[in-house]
Symmetry: C2
Subunit: 240 residues, 2 copies
């Protein structure tokens, strides 16, 4: 059975957190968005009228007959199967809790450029976006980054990983979060390595892992762009 990832084409978006896990694990997966008829295949599955319910939104994973929506849910399912999560139930729920905190952060990043409505253009909600992005950079980023930095520093196995002695999917997601924040908010992120040294080291270490490095250089890695979660709008970016 080959895992199938369904997502929008042309952007990293939320799907990228799942791609990173597949790429690092060296697991063969079908990235349906890359196929010419990928979006159509995805929409067909989403319009399906059989039980259990079709997903509310992409991304979702198809593993045989099982369809699993939501990034954190997908990673919780895949993690122990591909060597990126503890095997014990308690550890899986603790790791999942960390991933759900990343999910919340990602939603807040998205809302910096769409604070009023996903149906409106950025240009039509730019004033609210400026206010939301300023509050996000001033209050929320330090709160989330401070939390993850402490979690790394307090790991009894050392600050190279967020949980336990080995790499997990949360470490990969933290890499993506740093990468995305540096793309979207280069001014605000200047100097972040001094403030969050363990996060910055994790970011560098993941980037240098052989499979990840190969993936990041490949054409499979879509460049950041202004269709994704992390968008670079200079008017939203401030020095800290």
């Amino acid at each position: 059975m080959q895992y199938e990832l369904y997502y929008w084409s042309g952007l990293q978006g939320r799907g990228e957190f799942v791609r990173l896990a597949f790429e690092e694990a060296g697991v063969d997966y079908a990235d349906i968005a890359r196929r010419p008829d990928g979006t159509e295949a995805m929409m067909r599955l989403m319009r399906r009228k059989t039980a259990p319910p079709a997903p509310f939104a992409p991304p979702f994973l198809k593993a045989g007959d099982l369809i699993i929506p939501h990034v954190a849910n997908i990673l919780m399912y895949l993690g122990p199967r591909v060597g990126l999560a503890p095997q014990d139930e308690g550890g899986r729920h603790v790791l999942h809790g960390l991933q759900l905190t990343i999910t919340d952060f990602v939603a807040e990043v998205h809302d910096t450029h769409h604070p009023i409505s996903g149906e409106l253009y950025f240009e039509d909600q730019k004033e609210a976006a400026k206010a939301r992005a300023a509050a996000f950079l001033a209050n929320r980023v330090p709160k989330f980054f401070g939390y993850f930095e402490r979690a790394l520093q307090q790991n009894a196995h050392g600050p190279a990983h967020i949980l336990g002695p080995t790499l997990t999917y949360v470490d990969l997601s933290l890499f993506q979060l740093m990468e995305g924040m540096r793309y979207a908010f280069p001014r605000a992120m200047r100097g972040y390595a001094a403030a969050y040294p363990a996060l910055a080291r994790l970011h560098d270490a993941v980037r240098r892992r052989p499979r990840l490095a190969a993936y990041l250089k490949s054409e499979r890695r879509i460049a950041f762009n202004e269709s994704g979660i992390f968008r670079h709008y200079p008017e939203l970016d401030h020095a800290p």
Copy 2:
């Protein structure tokens, strides 16, 4: 071992989704927020510097030594233990996916009254709140409610439950969502039963379950108020 639920005192908030599962299952649990020193006990656990990391935010569950944060994560852990979720792994992930869609909806409800920043008062972001609430009621509520209505209608076991033949924690969360929306947006919700009949029937059926009915009448059920997720600000509420 008695389960311990940690949350802010004086509001339903996100903790209520967990309380409903405990109450319906008839499981003895300690609601730490009800104790005079409850908030202090919660903050002590959150400031803990040992691995695994303390939760980013309440609510969280303590089950023996295990601490599980995030509502959907807690419910995924509890569900099969208290008879409110399938036992098989695939079914658990499908149910969890539905709960995570509810999580997203809850975050959007919250942002109708706080679209710019949780650090600002409602009064200081009221214009943005009006715009966001209008878009939420016009676009997002029909999208989410339509999704859950279809999921109920398409259940092969009948529209009384969202997944499979019996009550799950997602049915309880959908009840809470209807209840909260009727409190926060009474004008917008007028006539919702005609548009979403299966959701409305589920709402009524859950309210009449003996244990839930007893809970809702008890002093353990905190009334909705303007500290929670679902807040009634008349200026945000519009007829559909």
